[in-house]
């Protein structure tokens, strides 16, 4: 058991969402797209790597077309198992296909203030508060940068954010908000301070980088350059597709999976061609755009299906997956949020997606809510419990106890009951009180969740980061602000 981290492991539940033949068909479609349509890489370094490895490179359009065998052989070099290291080694997360870890979501632009309840632009202090609460919350295994530190200069914002998380939590940090070479270089220097040198990052990657693709079938130049730097020093690196039916992908689910898969697979192959054996992961948060306004939806049956299907693809390539779940489109913690976050997380969990993104947001990953964060944690716990399934053995069949009670009695006073009662899930935020008790205040999950977040923030003291390391990090950031 990892210290203060709850993860789903050894599940009993299973789901076959795609047959092996269907996976193969999507894979072949993906290779067809990469070979015949091409993927855009607006990075000089990337195009040169592709050219050196036999791809057909169009330097004007910055589009590469790659033969299937080049992609397939490159992907085989990716390590199937590796750890995400934490500042506290007891909180390392093995990505071994037998664990599902949840993280905080990112990267939002507004926060519902934990004290006043007023919605406002996000700032660095919010990153700090969220990191502290996440540090104390066992359902959170790792951090994304939850919200944008908009009170910090744009050119070093991503660095302020990871420094603040490290100062307030010992858990692994995966940043999705560093997407250029300069900031990536500085972030690597900062991570190296924690593990006593850049050469130790390969063994103890306390930082991982997630880069968004630029769909359809493209990458962002800065993201690619940042990813190459990270892969070079052995920091786990992943590309996330958010291909959306109707807008950045076909209206059909299979087609959308293929487009997103082409983006991720081409980016991942590039990293393997440049640095064979570099730890990489697949990342995805596909969705369907809203039919009426084209908006990012953050939920719905299509999302649930993508959530389960993508891990089948990443398993086919034998690399870990960081999967978008939670992230409801609801404007406040309500019926919609409960449905979307439960089902998306259940579907991504039942196929054993390695990392889940993530807790805490409303309005499609834009507005941070501390209440939603705590309620999302409970959703994860409910799914954690559900995934354990039903154990059928003599002890669990309880025949002796059933005989003891006989027809018409009850099981409350049985030793067997006492022995096993704590296996029953005890919710923090579900209202099971008598009606008249509820009527007194008419309070509910949202009130209790917010109260819990406030209590943690007031009481929890994370293990501090060595002030000398903090000071060195500040120097690196200052050097980047000149």
């Amino acid at each position: 058991m990892t210290k203060n981290i709850k993860s789903i492991t050894n599940p009993k539940l299973k789901l076959e969402i795609l047959t092996p033949a269907e996976v193969k068909k999507i894979h072949n479609a993906t290779l067809h797209i990469i070979e015949n349509v091409g993927v855009r890489f607006p990075s000089k370094r990337a195009l040169e790597i592709w050219a050196a490895n036999g791809a057909d490179v169009n330097y004007d359009k910055k589009v590469v077309k790659v033969k299937p065998h080049i992609i397939e052989e490159a992907i085989k070099k990716a390590p199937p198992v590796y750890p995400l290291a934490a500042r506290d080694p007891q909180q390392d997360l093995p990505l071994d296909g037998n664990h599902v870890y949840a993280g905080t979501d990112g990267c939002g632009v507004e926060v519902i203030d934990i004290q006043t309840g007023v919605r406002r632009m996000s700032k660095l202090d919010d990153v700090r508060d969220i990191a502290r609460i996440a540090d104390a919350t066992e359902e959170v295994a790792f951090h994304w940068v939850p919200v944008s530190a908009q009170d910090k200069p744009a050119e070093t914002r991503g660095l302020h954010e990871i420094k603040t998380i490290w100062e307030n939590s010992t858990k692994h940090v995966q940043t999705e908000s560093i997407y250029n070479e300069r900031e990536a270089k500085a972030a690597i220097e900062m991570a190296a301070l924690i593990v006593g040198g850049k050469e130790n990052l390969r063994k103890r990657p306390v930082l991982s980088l997630m880069q968004c693709t630029a769909p359809p079938l493209g990458h962002d130049g800065g993201s690619i350059d940042a990813a190459l730097l990270a892969a070079e020093v052995g920091l786990p690196t992943g590309f996330m597709t958010m291909a959306a039916c109707l807008t950045t992908g076909p209206a059909t689910l299979a087609g959308n999976l293929a487009v997103g898969n082409a983006e991720v697979l081409a980016g991942t192959a590039l990293l393997q061609l440049a640095f064979p054996g570099a730890p990489v992961f697949y990342a995805a948060a596909q969705t369907a755009s809203d039919l009426r306004n084209g908006a990012y939806t953050g939920g719905g049956p299509e999302d649930f299906l993508f959530g389960a299907a993508t891990n089948v693809l990443s398993d086919y390539y034998n690399i870990p997956l960081s999967m978008g779940s939670f992230a409801t489109g609801a404007k406040e913690p309500n019926w919609q949020a409960g449905i979307e976050n439960s089902l998306s997380t259940f579907m991504a969990s039942i196929v054993m997606s390695d990392m889940l993104l993530g807790l805490g947001f409303l309005h499609g990953s834009r507005i941070w809510s501390f209440a939603e964060m705590m309620m999302d944690a409970e959703i994860f716990s409910i799914i954690h419990k559900t995934m354990q399934g039903i154990v059928v053995d003599d002890e669990n069949l309880a025949l002796d106890t059933i005989a003891n009670v006989g027809p018409g009695g009850n099981f409350l006073a049985q030793r067997h009951t006492k022995n096993h009662m704590r296996e029953i899930f005890l919710p923090q935020f579900m209202d099971r009180r008598p009606y008249n008790v509820w009527e007194e205040k008419k309070d509910d999950a949202r009130d209790w969740a917010l109260a819990k977040a406030r209590r943690i923030l007031a009481e929890h003291q994370p293990d501090p980061l060595d002030p000398k390391i903090s000071a060195e990090m500040a120097k690196i950031i200052a050097a980047n602000e000149k």
Binding site: P42, C107, V109, E110, R120, M121, S148, Q150, A154, E155, R157, Y179, A214, G218, D220, G221, L246, T247, T248, A251, S289, D290, L291, R292, N293, G294, A295, Y296, R366
Partner: protein
Amino acid sequence: MSEELLQKMAQSIIDGDSDVSVQLAQEAIAIGMDPLKAITDGFVVGVNKVGDAFAAGDAFLPELVMAGEAMKAAVATLEPELLKKGSERKTLGKVVMATVEGDIHEIGKSLVSTMLGASGFTVVDMGVDNPSDKIIEKALEIDADIIGLSALLTTTMIRQKEVIEKLDARGLRKKIKVMVGGAPVTREWVQKIEADGYSEDAIGAVAVAKQLMGAE
């Protein structure tokens, strides 16, 4: 004969079929139909029908976009004829649309361009990664009424502010209105940078642009 042609024009927009709309526009030129009549009594009728169906919840965004594309193609075909006759299609306003410097995301921006075009605005879409000065120069070049600025990243969103400040410094704020959009853009940000208009989606953006033109 011409009544039938006009009906076919409207239908080609409803079907979102650019090939057919272009063909019908060519037919209109061949038989000497007034190009303005073809637009107003033919193609625009189709645009309005799709718009009404959309508003009623019977049509969806892809149908709206396809209608917009078909309309654009038809108008482009008729344009030389319009110029020859010295007549001009009435425009609701001239808009420069651009994704700001350092940002390569453009789906939302392109959607707004299409919607504005279909709604009767004259739109120049500059694509992605546009430095602020270049956007302003383009706006001056075409005598734009509105600049529309898109950004997907909090780190590039600051360029929206930059464009407004530069317009201000050059005394152009009264002349050129600025509307902004993109996932990280919030009402608070819009107020902070004193943009003139903002919408979370493309349909709303058309309403905002119309409002900005009406307010003048």
